[in-house]
Each structure stands twice: as structure tokens, then as C-alpha cells.
């Protein structure tokens, strides 16, 4: 019947053409974005991509063979009116054995580099530089234990130095992943997980939480700033010095007062290393992220907003607007007047390391 024949041709056009077009378009347009896995800047991510590429091409070969055979069979062996039933072939043991062994061999070939790469990624390098990573709903805390300071949502590390991320979580399970630097590991309350990687190129890298962790899972991003080794030491020294104190009688100095005053009471939740109020109160609380040098961070609210003075203003006024459900309360005009908020924003924006180049 002519209908069947036409239909057979349509199988080819209908199934193959859109898929192929889509695949080609995809290969052309995909990759090279801030969180793409195909551009790697550390040994860890590179070994993952290097494992993927041969498996990908093997997959393409199998894909083409199977789909080709499928479509070929549907076209070639179609029914024509009056055809008698074809030979009732029940099977062939030799063929079966062959195509049981063939995939087994292919998989064994894939398995060998898989196992060696698993071992590579799990082995601790010599003298790594260790940073503790703690996942919170919904932000990241980074603790430099030996150097004695903490930071939030932006991790700074030196290039060309093996890094050990020693990770856990404070509440629920999260997952820490920066595609261009390393493969992900979950951060789990009550347990420790580890990532080892050696960043190869200074720069700013993107990452976020990949394990669903509740309402604001989408806004649990982080950045990793990779410094030149010397520059990193300067950055560490800056952090150890604590936040710079504003000049007296400036807007920033007024902002610092607002930070501690009852209406705002930012210090009830946030720490700023080295910031002391006139009555001797210190900002050491650890409910929210440590704000020392917050002015140099590229993001606010773990990626809910870009860090600009305007956004910082909006964020403090109503953090529930851009990140509903997060623990930070909104601050009305009664709590922080417009002038006070302007001063507070000026103060926080001024908190930047002096020695290190922020980028």
C-alpha cells in the first residue's frame, strides 16, 4: 500500500531531521557559558571532561548505528498488500551471544578510565590548602580555620596550589559545585565530604547549590575568586586585619552607627571582624553571613542580586522581595530611616580589602 511507503519515508524525515538539527544547533550554541562544564580551569574538572569526550563519541557511534538500523528496517521491511507472512524466525543463539559480548566489551573499555578517574579525584594531594565549606539554607559559609576568619558566598583561593574543600552542612543536604573547576560533592549535616582541585588560572568562577534544599534552592549561588599566589596572601592579610574603620564624621561612619543601633541591629545576626560600636559592642554574631569586606563581593543574598549600592539598599529594605523565605527580616522606614539606610549602604559598600586586587 502506497500509504505505508510514504509513511516509512516520513519516519526518516520526522525522526532524524529534527533530532539531528537540534543536536547540531546544540553543539554550536552550547558550552562556554559561566557554568558550562566544557571549559575547564582546574585539574579536577578537566579530568571529568576528558573522561566524557571519548564516551560521548562512542555514544554517537552507537546512537547512529541503532537509529540507522531502526529506520532502515522500518523502510526496507515494510508490508505491501498481499505479502505472505515472512519466515517465522525465532532467534539465533550465536547472534545473541555475539551481541551480549559486544556491549560487555564496550562497557569494560569505559569502565577502566572511569575507575582510575574515581581514584584520582578521591586521592588527597600533598600539602593542600584547606578551606572549610558549610552549607546553610540558603547561603555558603567559608571558614579559613588556620588564618582565623570567615567569609560568605565568595570563596577565595590561590592559583597553582592544591585546594582541599572540607565540607559539611548546618541544616539540610546541599551540594557544592563549580562546573569549571571541580565535580560536585554533597554537603551533609553531621558528615564531612571533600573536594580536591588545583585551580590553574586566576579569575572569577561561578557555582551554586545543586541538591534541592528547600524554598530558595535557586538562590544559593557562590563565586570562587582564584588569585595569583602573591595576591592571595595580601587578601588573607586584609581579612585578618578585619574591616577598615571609616573616617570620623563621614557618611560611612554614620552607617557604622546605624549598623549597631536598635532599629537595625545588624550585629544581632551578622559579624564584621574588627567593627566595634562606641559602647564597645562587637559584631560577632553568626546567624547570617559574615560581612567583613562585603563591599568587594560580586553578589548579594547568595546570588539573588548583583552587589551594587542600589541593590544593597533594596535588599536591606526588603530581602523578602528578591529572595522570599530567607531568614533576614525586612526593615521598614520605622526601623531604618531613608537617611540611615543610605549611610548603612555607604558603610557596607566601603568594606573592601585594601591590598588585594578584588578581581
Amino acid at each position: 500500500m502506497a500509504g505505508w511507503i510514504r509513511c516509512g519515508r516520513r519516519v526518516v524525515l520526522g525522526a532524524l531531521v529534527p533530532l539531528l538539527a537540534l543536536a547540531l544547533a546544540g553543539c554550536g550554541i552550547t558550552g562556554g557559558e559561566v557554568q558550562s562544564a566544557n571549559e575547564t580551569f582546574a585539574d579536577n574538572a578537566e579530568s571529568i571532561w576528558n573522561l566524557f569526550v571519548p564516551i560521548f563519541w562512542l555514544s554517537v557511534v552507537i546512537f547512529v548505528l541503532v537509529q540507522g538500523a531502526l529506520i532502515w528496517a522500518v523502510i526496507k521491511f515494510r508490508y505491501r498488500d498481499g505479502d505472505p507472512p515472512p519466515p517465522q524466525l525465532h532467534g539465533n543463539t550465536k547472534v545473541e551471544v555475539a551481541w551480549t559480548i559486544a556491549p560487555a566489551v564496550i562497557l569494560a573499555i569505559i569502565l577502566v578510565p572511569t575507575i582510575t578517574t574515581i581514584a584520582d579525584l578521591a586521592s588527597e594531594p600533598d600539602e593542600p590548602y584547606t578551606v572549610d565549606v558549610i552549607g546553610h539554607q540558603w547561603w555558603w559559609e567559608f571558614e579559613y580555620e588556620d588564618e582565623g576568619f570567615k567569609t560568605g558566598n565568595v570563596l577565595h583561593v590561590p592559583a597553582d596550589q592544591p585546594i582541599h574543600l572540607r565540607m559539611t552542612a548546618a541544616d539540610v543536604i546541599h551540594s557544592f559545585y563549580a562546573p569549571q573547576l571541580f565535580g560536585k560533592q554533597d554537603t551533609i549535616p553531621g558528615r564531612t565530604t571533600n573536594i580536591y582541585f588545583t585551580p590553574e588560572e586566576p579569575g572569577e568562577y561561578y557555582g551554586q547549590c545543586y541538591e534541592f534544599c528547600g524554598l530558595q534552592h535557586a538562590n544559593m549561588m557562590f563565586r570562587i575568586v582564584v588569585h595569583e599566589p602573591g595576591d592571595f596572601e595580601a587578601w588573607v592579610a586584609d581579612q585578618q586585619d578585619g574591616a577598615p574603620d571609616p573616617e570620623p564624621d563621614t557618611l560611612e561612619a554614620r552607617g557604622k552607627e546605624v549598623f549597631f543601633q536598635p532599629g537595625a541591629a545588624c550585629h544581632a545576626c551578622h559579624a564584621i571582624d574588627g567593627a566595634v560600636a562606641e559602647d564597645g559592642t562587637e559584631a560577632v554574631a553568626e546567624v547570617g553571613p559574615n560581612l567583613t569586606n562585603i563591599g568587594e563581593r560580586p553578589i548579594l543574598g547568595a546570588g539573588a542580586l548583583e552587589n551594587t549600592p542600589e541593590n544593597l539598599h533594596d535588599w536591606i529594605r526588603d530581602p523578602q522581595e528578591s529572595k522570599p523565605g530567607n531568614e533576614m527580616p525586612s526593615f521598614s522606614q520605622d526601623a531604618i530611616s531613608d537617611e540611615d539606610l543610605e549611610a548603612l549602604v555607604a558603610y557596607l559598600s566601603s568594606l573592601q580589602s585594601e591590598r588585594a586586587d578584588a578581581d
Binding site: G8, P18, A23, G26, T30, E33, V34, Q35, S36, A37, S47, I48, L51, F52, I55, F56, S59, I62, F63, L70, A73, F77, R78, Y79, D83, P85, P86, P87, Q88, L89, H90, G91, E96, P103, L107, I110, P113, T114, I118, L121, V172, S175, Y177, P179, F182, K184, Q185, D186, P189, G190, R191, Y210, E211, F212, C213, G214, L215, H217, A218, P324
Partner: protein, 602 residues
């Protein structure tokens, strides 16, 4: 006056019909109940999916709040897996298995009715969370400690726990029932290796259900205790947060095969019928199915490669996961060989079955990619996984089930479906499906995490999200065609004979739709593909030989299974609302079980 009487009589008649459906223990009617209910839930799940895709069509979308979005994606998965795909398989288990093995009904007809009502009540319980603004929003995997009462206080977590717990009873009861049916009630001469492939794959599914669902029941029970009675099974301090994942995936991975094996079975019927050839390598297909089931219990850690169990467990489970690709590959090659040298009629059922092989292969290939553990360190919880799982569950299971609908519709309703509309349905589905899910691979390469309600505009994710959403709407439209076709064909489709496809198995020997007692005389089976053998290989007296005349006993209907199912649902609902409901439910359940045990059965 006379009119009023007639109207009342008609009304009485209508009540009698409804009462008949409510109390039925006929496997065919229960199969139809499963069919329509699962189709309705499929639309609920599809609506939720379109909600998800609509939210993600542009970056920084404000269409939905994160709370609503999280409810949508969680309920989409729960509805599709537990209320649409599994029950639609159950519709075919019910309608087709007894016919294919030459039986008059299932082993335990009232238990069968109980399974359906528990499914319906459990499904409504699970979905009723939306009425209280408290649908589950913790992902279908319900990971602790997010699902604990500390981080998910209120009813939403309880709807998840109790909804699934109640539904589990339905699944296990059905699994047990059909396992016994297949083992004990096959027609004389139907040895295990003469069973149709669909019956074989279903049998393997029931073994998986019976072994896997208890793990889920235990996990849910412990989580219920943690949430409501302050136990510490999954506490980070005194228990183990990760233990939930082990229990969940010891259930959850076999669950994947519970979803796909019936579809394997369906296309193992459709491909031979429309190729007019027997299934190539029948015994290899059967034993690879058994192997998949066996290995399916040894691969659960591949869902947990990133929890940091260390290199050795990851190496072991990478190996077992790759092993399971071997029997799966064998199946695909056998289906290809079934087509090869055949005489292929591209009916709508056949188109879906052929597309199943192609689409499932894509899902299988991407599955091997993240079996390579370090690649999973990248792809895990990205959209690459979303693409993979939909190629398996939609391109696989759903395509298989749709093939089953077009294939068995003439048997179920005595009419053909409209083939022209079916072709439209097929091509729009195939294109819409690939447009939706293929770009998700690219989003995975670009690092888009799954389960996020919003994304920034400068990450390069806009284009493929837009394409995926367009595809999803196309897919939604295509599915409307299926329903229109179903309704139109039931009303006015071309009448179908007993054997409309020149098929091979016993269900095609009886009337379309089958008479209440299925077969006038019990079939005597003398070959695999017995019906084909009858039609083409036997002559004269030989062909006419049938079983002796016999007394046909059909069990009466009963309302008690519905009552017990309702009591069971109340028992679960009490944990969500107030424990008094549980007490009432417990009483109904207990009284109902006694009534069940002593109900006269003749």
C-alpha cells in the same frame, strides 16, 4: 405520569450501573477503571509540567512563587510516577494478563478491586494537599533532613509520607495478586516459556514490586515517626541523614524498572504483531528481563555517587550499573532483529513502539554516561539528568503505554481508534517530546541545576529553556488529540473484529470487547504465540480442538473492598489531620476485613 415513572426507572437503572462499577470484581472493568483514572491523573501531571515549563520560559520569572513552583515540580513527579504511569501499566495488567494466559479472572478478584480503590483514594489523598495549600514541596525523593518536621513543618510533608504509604498498599496488593495469577492460573499447556512476553515482563515487575516496595514502606514509616512522634531515625545528630537515601533508592531504582518493564512487555507484543514475525530471541528477552530485575537491586548507589561514600563503593556501583546496560542492550538488539526481515505495518501502535526503541536508546546511552562516576559528579542534579530520565520514562514507558493503548483499544472497546488522528498524535508527540527534552542535555552541559524556580539572565540558559517550553506545549496539545481520539472512537469508531491486527496471542481469540467470562471454553495451549500457530500452522480437526465444556463460575461483586480501602485511607489521613480520623479509619478497616473474610462467595 408515565414519563416521570420512566425517568425514575432510568435513574434507578443508572444507579444500578454505577453500583455495578463500584462493586465490580471483573478484571476487565477494574482495568477500565484504572485506565480512565490514570489518564485523568496523567492530565493532572501534565498540567503541573506545563506550569513548571511556563515558569522557566524566561529568566527571573515572577509567574509563580518559589513555594508554588516547588509544589508543582514535586507533585508532577509524584503524580506521573505513582498515579499515571504505574496505574496505566496496571490497567493493562488487569485487562490483558488474564486474557493472555487464558484465565477467567485474577486469583483474588476482591483484592483486585481493593487495589484499585486504594489507588484512587490514596491518589486523592496525595493530591488533596493542594486544597490546603500544602502539597508536598520537597521533591519526589523526599530527602531528609529537608523532609523532617524541623525544615518542612506542617502538613505538606505528611501528605507526601501518608499519600505514598497508602498508595504502597495498592501496589503491593496488586503485585501479589498478579504474581499468583500468572503462576497459578495459566491455561493448560501454557508453560512458562510459552507465556507472551508481556506476561513475562509483568511477572518480573511483580517480583520487583514485592521486593522493592517494603523498603519504601519502611522508609516512609520511619519518616512518619520522625515527623510526628519525635523519633530520630534520620536525625543528623542521633541517626543518619543519608540512611533515607539508601532506603529510598533501594526502592527507587527497582521502581524505575517497575515503570519500564511493562512497556518492554507491551512493545514485545506490538513489534512482532506488526512485523508478522515472532519476537526474536524470546528466551534472551525473557532472561535479560530477569537479569535486569536482579541487577536492579544492586545499583541504587548510582543515585548517590555524590554523597561522599568514598571511591570503593563508587567503583563497585559504577561496575554494576554498567553491567545492567548489557541485558538492556540485548533487548534493544532483539527488538531490532524482530523488525528485521519482517513485514512491517506502520499503524499508530507500531509507530509508537518503533519510536520507543529509538527514544529509549537515547535514554540508555545517557544513562551509561553518568554511570561513569566522575561524569556524574558533573551531570548529577543538572538538567542532563532531567533529560535522561524523561527519555526513559516518557520516551520509554509512556511511548510503550501509548502503543499499548492503540494496540489493545479494539479489544477493550470493540472499535478501532482513528488512525489518521493517531498519526497526527504520534508525529506531534515525537517532535514535541524531542523539542522538550533534547535541549535539556544542552542545559546540563551549561550547568543548569534541576529543581530551581528561577535563573539569572546571564548564564546562557534562555534559549534552550524557551525551546523546551515550546516543545512542552506541543506535547500537551498532542496529548489532547489522544483523548479526543479515544472519546470519538468509543462513540463512533469503526467496529473491530476479534482479531483486528492478525495478532499472535490468546486475547485476540475472544470477542471484542471480551464477554464477561472471557472464554467459552478454556483454551488449550500448544505453542508459544498459540493463536498464530492456530491460524497458520494447524489444520482441520487439529485446529478446532478446544477444552471441554465446563461450569463457569464468576465471583459476585462486593462493596467491601471499597470500604476497607476507604478505612485504610482514613487511617493514613489521620496522621495528616487529626488522629481521631485514624481511629475511625482503623475501625472501618477492622470491621471491613472481618466482613471480607466471612462474606459468602457464590
Amino acid at each position: 405520569m408515565a414519563q416521570a415513572v420512566a425517568a425514575r426507572e432510568e435513574q434507578l437503572d443508572r444507579w444500578a450501573v454505577i453500583w455495578d462499577w463500584i462493586t465490580t470484581s471483573d478484571h476487565k472493568k477494574i482495568g477500565l477503571l484504572y485506565f480512565w483514572t490514570s489518564l485523568a491523573f496523567f492530565f493532572v501531571g501534565g498540567f503541573l509540567a506545563l506550569g513548571v515549563r511556563s515558569q522557566l520560559v524566561v529568566p527571573n520569572s515572577a509567574m509563580m512563587s518559589p513555594e508554588v513552583y516547588n509544589q508543582f515540580f514535586t507533585m508532577h513527579a509524584l503524580v506521573m510516577i505513582f498515579l499515571a504511569l504505574m496505574p496505566m501499566s496496571a490497567a493493562f495488567f488487569n485487562f490483558i494478563i488474564p486474557l493472555q494466559i487464558g484465565a477467567r479472572d485474577v486469583a483474588f478478584p476482591r483484592l483486585n478491586s481493593f487495589s484499585y480503590w486504594v489507588y484512587l483514594f490514596g491518589g486523592l489523598l496525595l493530591c488533596s494537599g493542594f486544597l490546603f495549600g500544602a502539597a508536598p514541596d520537597i521533591g519526589w525523593t523526599g530527602y531528609t533532613s529537608l523532609s523532617s518536621s524541623q525544615y518542612t513543618p506542617g502538613m505538606s510533608g505528611d501528605f507526601y509520607v501518608m499519600g505514598l504509604q497508602v498508595l504502597g498498599f495498592s501496589t503491593v496488593a496488586a503485585g501479589l495478586n498478579f504474581f499468583v495469577t500468572i503462576v497459578n492460573m495459566r491455561a493448560p499447556g501454557m508453560s512458562l516459556m510459552r507465556m507472551p512476553a508481556f506476561v513475562w515482563m509483568s511477572l518480573v515487575t511483580f517480583v520487583l514490586i514485592l521486593l522493592a516496595f517494603p523498603a519504601l514502606a519502611i522508609a516512609l514509616f520511619a519518616l512518619m515517626m520522625d515527623r510526628n512522634f519525635d523519633t530520630v531515625f534520620f536525625s543528623a545528630a542521633d541517626g543518619s541523614v543519608v540512611m533515607w537515601q539508601h532506603l529510598f533508592w533501594i526502592f527507587g531504582h527497582p521502581e524505575v524498572y517497575i515503570l519500564i518493564l511493562p512497556a518492554f512487555g507491551i512493545i514485545s507484543e506490538v513489534l512482532p504483531t506488526f512485523s508478522r514475525k515472532p519476537l526474536f530471541g524470546y528466551s534472551f528477552v525473557v532472561f535479560s528481563g530477569i537479569t535486569i530485575a536482579f541487577l536492579g537491586f544492586g545499583v541504587w548507589v548510582h543515585h548517590m555517587f555524590t554523597v561522599g561514600m568514598g571511591p570503593i563503593p563508587n567503583m563497585v556501583f559504577a561496575t554494576t550499573t554498567m553491567l545492567i546496560a548489557i541485558p538492556t542492550g540485548v533487548k534493544i538488539l532483539n527488538w531490532l532483529a524482530t523488525l528485521w526481515g519482517g513485514s512491517i505495518r506502520l499503524t499508530t501502535a507500531m509507530l509508537f513502539a518503533v519510536a520507543f526503541v529509538g527514544m529509549f536508546t537515547i535514554g540508555g546511552i545517557s544513562g551509561v554516561m553518568h554511570a561513569a562516576v566522575p561524569i556524574d559528579y558533573w551531570q548529577h542534579d543538572t538538567y542532563f539528568i532531567v533529560a535522561h530520565l524523561h527519555y526513559v520514562l516518557f520516551g520509554g514507558t509512556m511511548f510503550g503505554l501509548i502503543a499499548g493503548i492503540y494496540y489493545w483499544f479494539p479489544k477493550m472497546f470493540g472499535r478501532y481508534m482513528n488512525e489518521a488522528m493517531g498519526k497526527w498524535h504520534f508525529w506531534l508527540t515525537l517532535i514535541g517530546f524531542n523539542l522538550t527534552f533534547f535541549p535539556m542535555h544542552f542545559l546540563g552541559v551549561d550547568g543548569m541545576p534541576r529543581r530551581i524556580y528561577t535563573y539569572p539572565s546571564d548564564f546562557g540558559w534562555e534559549l534552550w529553556n524557551l525551546v523546551a517550553t515550546i516543545g512542552a506545549y506541543l506535547l500537551g496539545f498532542a496529548t489532547l488529540l489522544l483523548v479526543i481520539n479515544l472519546i470519538k472512537s468509543i462513540r463512533a469508531g469503526q467496529a473491530a473484529p476479534n482479531d483486528p491486527w492478525d495478532a499472535r496471542t490468546l486475547e485476540w481469540t475472544t470477542t471484542s470487547p471480551p464477554q464477561k467470562h472471557n472464554f467459552d471454553r478454556t483454551p488449550q495451549v500448544r505453542a508459544r504465540d498459540d493463536f498464530w500457530d492456530q491460524k497458520y500452522n494447524r489444520t482441520g480437526e487439529d485446529a478446532e480442538a478446544e477444552g471441554p465444556e465446563e461450569h463457569i463460575h464468576l465471583p459476585p461483586g462486593s462493596y467491601i473492598p471499597l470500604l476497607v480501602a476507604f478505612g485504610l485511607m482514613l487511617l493514613g489521613a489521620g496522621i495528616i489531620f487529626t488522629l481521631w480520623l485514624s481511629v475511625i479509619g482503623g475501625i472501618i478497616l477492622t470491621v471491613g476485613l472481618f466482613a471480607w473474610a466471612f462474606e459468602p462467595n457464590d
